[in-house]
Each structure stands twice: as C-alpha cells, then as structure tokens.
C-alpha cells in the first residue's frame, strides 16, 4: 500500500525564450503511493494541467524528472515513452475526447487496440457494468449525455488496468449531479480496482474527497496535506 508508484523530483517547465521565460512549474517535487487518491488544486494558470501533462508523458519538462513504476519517463525515447504511457497511464479529460466514429465499447477498448492487443473482455464487461455502461455499449458518443460520455472516458481509462489514472478536471464539463456521480465512480474505482488516482481540479469540495491535496500556486507547491491533517 505504501509503495511509491510516482515520484516527481525538481520538476520545472518553462515557456518562452531566454529573455521572457515564464515558469509554469518550478522545482516541484512529490511522490504518490500505489493505490492512493491524490488531488491537485490551484487557481487557473497555477500549473496543474501542465503538471498532469508532464506526469502523463505528454509534455516534456524543462528540468527534473518523473519516475513512474521505477522508470524515468523522460529518459526513454519517444516511442518507448508512448508505449509505456499507453500501458501504464490512464487519462480522463475534461472534454472526454471520445472518438465519435467508434461505439462506447470500442472507445473503451481503444487503448488495447492501439497496443495491438485483444482487450480483456471479462474485465471490460466488469468495468462497464460497474460504471453503468452495459446497456449503451453499442451506442455512439453523439447519442450519449455529457455524464454518460464522461463515464465512458473513465471506463476507457480503467479498462487497460493502468498503474496510475490521471484525471484532468473531469467534472469541469458536467453539472453538479453528474459531477458528483463521476466522483463517486472514481472513488469506487479507487476502492474496487485499487486504482491509483491523481486528480486535477479547481473545486475544493471535490478535492476534499481525495486522501491527499497538493495545492499549486504559480508553479510552486504551496501545501501538501494528507491523512489526518486533511
């Protein structure tokens, strides 16, 4: 339970040229244990999404390193990093990013197909059942409500059993009821599948439901509160 699955050390991300550099992240260091639920909060422009993208292998940092399951993400070549994140990192986005020409079931299986693997049908069915998607597995994203689309995105992220699930403002595009339902689903996944979750949000209420809250401000960690302190 206490094994470190993610370790971020002195992470820096700068934009712009020498003369006009803007630091989105500055010397950010923390680690995440396997099976934990961590929320990162901060105001708009505080660097939370940049941090999440950097951890997810989508955006290379200017300095520092990201170690996921003992592997330094940015020490790998691009193709190896892509394969690594495909197998070990699950993503849930604010705008769902579902592929409109694929059905719900196909969208959920997509990461496996990208890995040229047959999806684990039993596990996929189990995830769909838990997330209430069984009845709509043959539907297309355009035929779903916003909440159903986001549930599909969560199912897609969980279906290939990632080591860590990154959720970037997953409730940002949902109403309160759907947002609460989604958070309940994430907690359920955290418990039921022992899923490590790193969630980015600007909503303190949502963050409070996590086991740990890291607050970012201007690219720095302002506070890191967890356990009883929370």
């Amino acid at each position: 339970m206490n094994d470190t699955i993610l370790s971020v050390s002195k992470l820096t991300k700068a934009y712009g040229h020498q003369t006009s550099k803007t630091y989105a992240l500055s010397n950010v260091s923390f680690s995440v244990s396997e099976g934990s639920f961590t929320a990162i909060i901060g105001r708009s422009g505080s660097g939370k999404s940049t941090l999440l993208n950097t951890i997810g292998g989508l955006e290379a940092p200017s300095g520092g390193n990201v170690i996921v399951k003992g592997q330094d993400l940015y020490a790998m070549p691009d193709s190896a990093r892509t394969a690594f994140r495909r197998r070990n990192i699950g993503y849930v986005f604010q705008f769902f990013n579902l592929i409109p020409e694929l059905t719900v079931y196909e969208n959920i299986c997509l990461p496996s197909y990208l890995d040229r693997k047959r999806p684990d049908r039993n596990f996929t069915d189990q995830v769909m059942e838990k997330l209430g998607l069984i009845s709509m597995q043959e539907k297309y994203p355009a035929e779903l409500s916003g909440g159903e689309q986001q549930r599909t995105a969560v199912a897609r992220a969980l279906a290939h059993k990632p080591a860590i699930l990154l959720a970037d403002e997953p409730t940002g595009n949902l109403d309160r009821r759907n947002g609460d339902e989604l958070m309940a689903l994430l907690h359920f996944s955290h418990r039921f599948f022992r899923q490590t979750i790193l969630l980015v949000t600007h909503d303190l209420e949502i963050a409070r439901s996590a086991g740990r809250i890291i607050t970012l401000e201007d690219g720095h960690i302002l506070s890191d509160v967890g356990g009883d302190d929370l």
Partner: protein
Amino acid sequence: MNGSRCSYAPRHFRLHTGNKSVAVILFAIYLLSLSTVIYTDSYEATLEQQRKLTYGAWHAAVYDVDEDSWEAISSHATVATAGRMEIVGYAVDKEGGLIGGVGYIDESLAEIGNISLLDGHFPAASDEIAVEASFLTRLGYSYELGQTISLPIVQDVVDGEVKNYEFTLTGVVKNYSTLWKSNNYWLTSFFLEQNTLPVQQQYIFVELLPQYVEYADSLIQLCPDDSSFVKNDFTYLQYSDQNAPQMDRAMLQTIIILAGCVAVVILINNELNKRKESFISMRMLGATRGQIIKLFFQGKAVPVLASSLIGILCGLGLPYLLYLLLRTRSDAAGLCFALNARHITRTVALLAAGITVAFGFGLIRLFQIPLRGKPQLQVASGNFHRRRRLNEKNLFSILNLAHFKSSILSTALTFATALFVFISAYQAWSAYEEYDFFCRNYPSDYSYGTLTILYPPTSAMSEDTLNEIKTAYGVKTVQAYSISDYYGAVPSGDYDTEYAEMVREFLANTVGARFDAPMYAPVIGISDDLYPFFAESVDTQLLSGDSLETGDVILYLPDFFVVDNNLINVDLASATQESGTILSDSKIAVGDTLTIDVNGESHRLRIAGIIHAFDDDFPTMFHPGRPNSLICNMETYRAIFGACQYGYVLVYGDDAAIQYQTDVELSKISSPLPLSNRRVERMEQRQRLGMRVFLALILSVSGFLMAMLVRFGLYSAMEKENLARYRALYQLGMSRKDLWRWLTRNATADTLTGSTMALFVLMCWRYMQERDQVRSFANYVFSGAWSLFRDAIERCVAYTDWFFVLCMFFFVVAINLIVLISYNRRYALQEANFYNCT
C-alpha cells in the same frame, strides 16, 4: 435589431479577416482569368500578325486569272480588299535560266501583302524599277538607288525570246516572293510601272471580310478552269488544323475558375465555422434566419464588388501595361494587344456564375444554423452507423470512415492536378516527338521532289540541274535518289508465285497497271552517303564496306498484311490493321541474280541484301515505298539507264552561310521537282515545341499551385476536427510513428487513386485520338464498332510513349506525396503533439 444591423456591417468588415481573404481571392481570380484570356488572344493575334508580315495578310489567291474572273472575284460579297499582280515576263540570268517574275502590283496588294520597301519608292515611270533585295544581290547589283539595272527579260516562255531592258532603280523591296504560298507560280520580284510591257498573266489576292473568313472556298466557283486557287494557310491557321491556343485557354480558365470558386467556398466555410457560435447565440436571442443571412452577406457585398471590380480593371490594365512595355523592344514586330469582347464577357460571366454558386453554398449553410445547441457536441453529430466491428487489425480503416469526405476531396484534387499535368505534358511530349520525328525523317535542309511512295515518278531532275544545286551558294552536301519506271525482272532462283501474284495485284490497284512478268521492279540509285541508312534494315546480306558494289542490289520485298480483300503494306503509316496473315516471300535468297530488261537490253544484277521491313527509325524521306525496288549505287544505275534521273534530292546547307540567301538561291534553280524548305519547317516546328513546352509548364505549375491552395484551404477547414481526433489518439497512446504511418498510408492511397484515375482519363483521351486517326485512313476498312475499338486500342498501346507516361505518373505521385507528407509532418503531427488537454 435594425439599428444594430446597420452599424454592425462596416465594423463586421473591419473585424473579420475572412472578408479580406475573399476579396484577395476574388481579385486574384479576376486578374488571372482576364489576363489569361487577353494573353492567349494577344499571343494568337501576334503570331497571326507576324505570319501576315511574313506570308501576306491575304486570305486567298487565284493564280492565272482572266479579266472577267478578276472583276467577279474582286466584287464578290465576301471580299474586303482585292489586290492585283500582273506578270509581264520573267527575268533570266546569264545562262538563260528563269530567275524571277517581272511585273506590277497595285497598292492594295502592297498593303494586304505587306510588300514593303527597304529603301526608295515603287516605280512611277516606265523606265523605273524596284527589285527584291536578294535579286539585286543575285544579279550583282548593290542597293544604291538611281543606278541603271540591265535586265534580260523573256516575255513569252514559249518562243523564249530574250530582250534586254534598262531601268533606273528606284526602290529596294523586302524579300517576300520565296515565302508566299505560290503554287509554283512566279511572283513579281522585279516591279515595273503598270502598262510598261504587255501583261502575260495576272493574279488576284483577296482579303475577306471578317465574317466570311471561313468561307474562302466559295470563291472557287468564280475561278477559271486553268487557274489555281490557294488559301493562305501559312498565315491563317484556321485553314489548317491547328487550334492549340483555344484549347490551352480553355484549360487555363477552367483551372482558375474552378480553383477560385472552391477557394471561395472554403473561405466562406471557414468563416461560418468560426462564427457559427455567435450566429447560434443571435438566433437564440431572436434573430431570424433572414436577418443573419442579410448580416453575413451585407458584410460581404462591399469587398466582393470592390475586389471584383479592381480585379477586372487590373486584369485588363496589367496586360496592357505589359504590352506597352514589350512594344518598346526592338524585336516586337507584329506585337498585338487583343481585347476580344466576346471572350472577356464570357469569362466575367462564368466567373460571376461560379462565385454566385460558391456564395450559394454559404447561404445553404446559413439556413442550417440551429436555434440552439452546444457547439462542441454538434461537431460530433456525424452518423457512423455502419459496418464491421472494431478489432486489433481494422482500427485504421474504421477510423478512416471519418476521413472519407476528406479522402474523396484529396483524391479529387490529386486527380485534377494529375490530369492537367498529364494532358499538358503529354501534349508537349507529342510536340517533341513530332519535332524529333521531323528531324529524323527530314534531316536535310531542303528537298526537291515529293515521295510518291507507290507511283512511278512523273518527273525527274537532270544531272545538270543537280550539279547546279551542288554549286549553289550555301550548299554543303547533296544526296540524291534516282528512280526509274517499272521494268520486268526475272530472278535466277525460285520465287514465291503467291507473293508475286499479290504484288502484281497490289501494283494493279495502286499504279493502275497489271504487269505480265513474274516480277516488276523499279530501280533506285542512291548516292553512297545514303547507303548506311539502308544497310541498317537489311535482313540477310552479302554486303560489306561502306557502299554497294557495282552490280549489287538490295531487294525490297515488303511483308504484307491481308485485310479483307485488300492488301496493305506493313511499312506504310496507314497499315494499322494487323488482322490478317503476314505474307512474305521466303524463296528469293541473297546471292541469287536478277535479270532486268531495259529498252531491250538485259542487265544481270546480284541480290546482295533483302529488306522485308524497314527499321522503325528509318527516315520516311528515304523510303522507297515501291515493292520489289532494286536499290543500287549510282554507277549501277548509270550502267543500266545511261544517266541518272533524280526523283528526289536532299540538300544540306552550310551553317556558316546566310541561310536566307541559300533559300533564295535554291528557289531560283529551275527544276521539275518542287522544292521544300525543310529548314524553315523545322524552325517552325521548334517554335511550336517551345510554345507547347512553355504552356505545359504554365499549366502544370498553375494547376499544382491552385490544387495546393485548395488542398490547404480544405485542410484548414477540417483541421479543427482532425486535430482533435489526432490529439485524442495521441493522448490515448497512439505513437507518433503509428499516426505518421496512418496519415502517410492514407495520403499514398489518395494520391495513387487520383493519379490512376487521371491516367485512365489520359488513356481515354489517347484512345479518342487514335480512334480519329484510324478513321482518317483512307483505306481503313470499317467492319464494326468492336473492330474499330480493337484497332484504336492496339494503336493506343503501340503509339503511347509508356516510359514518358510512367515517368509523369511517378512524378505526379511523388510531388503529391511530398506535399501531403510535408503537410502531415508540419501541421498534423507537430500540432497533435503540441496541443494538450488543457
């Protein structure tokens, strides 16, 4: 709403860059289209004007016309101007040979014939003369005006009496007489005052009214029987079959109009995509569809009208400025600026129609704007009900369903680009092949005689005349052919009676005489320098050295095809139907002898070689044509006939000489064989080739640029949706390599499909060309549509330059792939990587 609408429109114009883009595109379309029309019209007019300066502006001429016919023709309703030329005699040189016509021309002819003076004036008194410049040189006079010209003239060629006259030189006339289409009539080179001497012959040259130019033939019925009617197809290409400029203009305009209209559609589509949300909001706030449409188009009206007007003015003005600039150049003789109101009106109307249709598209889209809805959800509202299930193998093909529309567009663009490149490049290549064919088959600078492939020669050149040609100014080498009539020949060995009977039948059909002897053969004497051409085609031989031995002959025994009941010689260009059995003689062998009887005397000749079929690259000019031809050297020919009777003479000029002077000198040598100036023909072909290559380049490059513009426009219109898809796939773990492979595979498939479709259309075009060609053969036996199709396809396969076609195909595929892959690399992949889920 009304008040806000009025104030919104100008601000709208300032704020939306879409208006500026539409304005720029419309300006460019009008400018390019009108410039193209004016350029091609002016180019055509300039070429015609230059031809008028060289070959005369008259449309038709009647040589040797009587006074009544002159009156009838000159007063005919179709005639605008009639010019008169009177021939009073012929100037002779010291040896008594005719060198040029002496006579009178009226002012009308001087004007329509562009007969101009280099110096001085035309004669105004009976003792004055004006002379063509080259004839003064030929007679040994300078161009000094006022000098006395002593001229021996034959007035009546029948009695041949030469009288000497003396005139004062008043003018030097620019050379023209060797350039005009004269049907071997002598034109006036020595100009006298009218009525100085009695008229022997008179000619009429007419310029027709513009509306009757096509009806020049209607004058034929007014011509006397013994006259000669000619249409000036040197100047007016409508009398020949060259219509390339019209076709090029049509192709260029089609590209510009199509590409322009598509570009307008794309720009409007882009703008509508950008403004869709604000229009939806306006609809929600109560704006009617009509109000939104009005708002959208009100903002467009001023830029559209202004840019169209400026485009039209610049399209008309810029070519005129260019014309003014070019006119100052010294080599701009005949340069024309043509404003053809019909062409310009048609172009503007076509453009306006195309642009209206393009805006109509915007109108349709505006009608579809919903009353409410979430923009980002509407994007994904496509209907993808289909198809097989996704599995690990068909991911890309299923994802491609969403790209179907863009794939069709991409394929269509490749098709359009490839088609323009293929057709224009193939035309250029055909022009090159035509030029190359001409150079190979007519290598000499001049030729006397026409190749009467199947018939005995009707006239021949004497040894004396040949010697005269050899010593003429500027002549470097002379090759000559002596061609005899048909004589009976008896081979020493066996011969194929079926083949011999077939040849007899063939000759009976073509020559009009049935010979009794087993073989009838013409004898062809060739100069030694022609020998290598023949030696290449000999199948079996006893030949050695660089020339034929005296007494040796090469026997031409052509292979025949049987087509229904007709026989066609395979070597001739008209032999297209390979539907019968090949008949050839296999019994006459090299080493056999032939005995030929000429005027009761027998001559024994050894067959040193046999030609059954000439090689493909054998020059047509040297082709003996006649079956059983006995090709020998000049000594053998002289031994049989006593002297050579040249049926065909090839003259090579000296590059160091003044070529025009050589033209004049050779044209003045009296010969029963007509002279052809191959050098000028070659030069004209070269100019045509240059023009064709230039146009092909312009067409290909403009086609490519337009297609690229449209392609990038389309891509940018679809970019948002596509990038979202690439980005999502990338974030979900599709490697850049896989993304790259997928896009490249799609690009390759689109390119190959489009290019193959264009290749198919090219082949259809080639098929139609060959079908027309097959139909045009006088002796083509039409035995049904299938047979015509098969023959045309056979020719299409045989006469298409596949190497060139393949090169073009791969070139177009490569260029398209480079463009597509660079696009994918530069935008799609980098953007997909850069965009994040922020």
